[in-house]
């Protein structure tokens, strides 16, 4: 059985309450950090752990923390990004629902490490039930002396507040989140300055994902070195994977990074194979923005080696044959799924969620959606396919925030790997409306490429 860190006690009845959580060793990290460690010690342990941002970008958390500016007399903030909205990702919802104190404990330790006395958890507005759960957990922790003034008699003060969003995917981008938290439209800021220098209210701020913050408690209790032993290479620790789509057992799984993709999809411990006895066609491995891969490329690398669930292995092959771990939103499509329809669907999502601030994203996402809609509904032209590739290139890298890239990649990758399916849609509009292209050769073994000389 693989090691569990975040979800270890998830099945214990009442673990969502302070009492039960505490009985099972909860808040030990707060005691250890506040009573025996300095703030810098905590940062050091997190650095040693190799923990990487679990929200999608995979940036080392410890390094992000060490960038935080510490000018005299200026408050610093920790903001937890719980605006989980990346299609395919629902791990934070799961964690906050079932074990909210894991997050609160992590928040206290992380705030201590960063020298923050006020911290916010920005939860997407649609998660009102989770907001209530967190507020209750905060009240319980405060009652027990783990929050408020002079925590555990150590002289450290901390208040944590939960902030609801209003319904906007873009607020998952950290600077848009800060704007939103300031009561404004969720327009991402132009960087620099980065939040570490000027974030919330112009003060130095760290924004971390729920899962990253939750992992900090374990790291403090067990040490960064122990955490770094789990996983593979620079992908240390465990990761929550949200598995959805056409699989037998959709849900949230905690895996040790380095597990093979094949095992994750087919073993009974995880997804339990493709639902209804169908065959695997494609996977979007890290949330809707990452490149989609056909069955053969997701299971194996271009050199025939098995592909692993890790930052590096999933990215192996670059955009030609690889993808990304992203936020761990693992969307599985079976042979009946239509890649064109799915691409159009994602494209509609990004069009809907574009904040409209910068021109390539505002105009380009809508354009791509319209062209994809036309192809899906039988009015496409062969030239549309190249047009989509070109428009996606004109958006990618040219926008203020990564939403532009996130909108461009699914389209570009779908055409890269499933061009024949797009062409089939153009050539057979009627058939495409009634049926679908099926598995074709997407699951065929890939020819092992020769080493490039």
């Amino acid at each position: 059985m693989a090691q569990k860190i975040l979800l270890k006690n998830i099945n214990i009845p009442g673990i969502n309450t302070f009492e039960v959580y505490r009985q099972h060793g909860g808040y030990a990290a707060v005691e250890k950090a506040l009573k025996t460690m300095s703030a810098d010690d905590v940062v050091e342990e997190v650095k040693k752990s190799g923990l990487r941002g679990r929200g999608g970008a995979g940036f080392p958390t410890g390094m992000k923390w060490s960038f935080l500016a510490k000018p005299e007399g200026v408050p610093r903030y920790l903001v937890c990004n719980a605006d989980e909205s990346e299609p395919g990702t629902f791990k934070d919802r799961y964690l906050m629902t079932h074990t909210p104190h894991t997050l609160i404990e992590g928040m206290i330790v992380s705030s201590f490490a960063l020298g923050a006395n006020t911290s916010y958890i920005y939860v997407r507005g649609e998660m009102m039930p989770q907001i209530r759960i967190l507020e209750k957990a905060i009240a319980e922790a405060k009652n027990a002396g783990f929050l408020g003034k002079n925590i555990l008699g150590t002289g450290y003060d901390l208040e944590i507040y939960v902030q609801p969003g209003g319904g906007a995917y873009i607020c998952g981008e950290e600077t848009a989140l800060l704007e939103s938290l300031e009561g404004k439209r969720g327009n991402p800021r132009i960087k620099p300055p980065f939040p570490a220098i000027a974030g919330l209210y112009g003060c130095p701020t760290v924004v971390n994902n729920v899962e990253s913050i939750a992992a900090v408690s374990w790291i403090v209790v067990n040490g960064g070195d122990e955490y770094a032993k789990i996983g593979i290479g620079r992908s240390t620790g465990t990761k929550l994977i949200s598995a959805s789509g056409n699989i037998n057992k959709p849900g949230v799984y905690e895996i040790e990074l380095g597990l093979s993709v094949e095992e994750f999809i087919y073993s009974d411990e995880y997804c339990g194979g493709i639902a209804n006895g169908k065959r695997l066609k494609a996977v979007v491995a890290g949330g809707s923005s990452v490149p989609i891969l056909p069955a053969n490329l997701i299971l194996k690398l271009a050199n025939g080696q098995p592909r692993l669930m890790s930052y590096e292995s999933l990215a192996e092959g670059g955009f030609a044959t690889g993808t990304m771990l992203g936020s761990g939103g693992f969307i599985v499509m079976d042979e009946d799924a239509c890649v064109v329809r799915n691409t159009w669907n994602f494209s509609r999502f990004y069009h809907h969620e574009s904040c409209g601030q910068c021109s390539p994203c505002r105009e380009g996402t809508g354009w791509m959606e319209k062209v994809l809609h036309r192809i899906e509904y039988g009015h496409g032209k062969m030239s549309d396919i190249d047009l989509l590739v070109d428009v996606s290139k004109k958006i990618e890298g040219n926008t203020i925030c990564p939403l532009g890239d996130a909108a461009a990649w699914p389209v570009a990758s779908a055409i890269r790997h499933f061009r024949d399916e797009f062409e089939w849609h153009v050539n057979n509009p009627k058939a495409a409306m009634d049926g679908n292209y099926g598995l074709a050769n997407y699951a065929d073994p890939i020819p092992v490429v020769e080493e490039a000389s």
Binding site: C355, C358, S359, E363, G364, G366, I395, G397
Partner: protein, 319 residues
Amino acid sequence: MSEKVKVTIDNIEIEVDPGTTILNAARMIGGDVVPPAMCYYSKLKGSGGKCRTCLVKVSQGSAKDPRPMPKLVASCRTTVMDGMVVQNITSPEVVEARKGVVEFLLINHPLDCPVCDQAGECHLQDLSFEHGKDQSRYEFKRRTFEMVDIGDKIKLHMNRCILCYRCVFTADQITDNRVHGILGRGDASEIGTYISKAIDNDFSGNVIDVCPVGALTDKTFRFKNRVWFTKPVDAHRDCDKCCGKVTLWYKGEEVIRVTGRKDQYGEVDEFICNTCRFDKKKTSDWTIEGPTKVDRHSVISSNHYDEKELLPVIDRKIF
């Protein structure tokens, strides 16, 4: 104490004060190396970064850290570092990206220049002429908005808007009470007041001057004349609200429009008040300084077509 920093833009070296943006450094050099800017406005704090027309390539970050920047950057919001090397028109990547941005800005623009008062002094016209493709690949219905009345002095034509946010910054920074803003999201964003409300205060007219396109125009000048048939004259008056330095636009003997004085990038030198703009339209209200200096290449400088010079033949299919 501030020592100058050296930056190279399209192989031209210049020394500037630390904290200068790439765009402003390029403007100091002048000429073709200046990136176009549709949303940046030097007099408005926080403006810029949105339109993406001023993207440039930083092929060397600084002397200390010579690595190139991974993506194209908005030159209006990126400050120069000592030893930075920037490519604007010498980078095919930049030229291509800019073409893309221009195409994006135009796909939903009504292209109604023949009936637009801004024609002739429109930055989007200049931009598409200088940096755009000769043809759009967009085949869908253009986005339209319902007309919104924002008072008897200013005409809002949302269909033409490129969402540069300049007018919002203007209202925020030089007027007391902002009543208009950006409503909606994504490509449905629009400038508006939400409930029909007149944008009316002493300095509201400046939103007309900062608008790079024909989205905000002067209602008192509406359909009066094409700008290239008018004669701009610099003038001033004693005004208790503003500097009183303006440009008067004459049609024959009649002042048909008053605007702030604009520099070569279309930015006003100083903001003017609504009294000067809308209520002082007699020559006797003003002390005339002389004809406004207008760029020789501007359509405004040529009130007639030179018969000796052949008209340019445009053999490309335009849209």
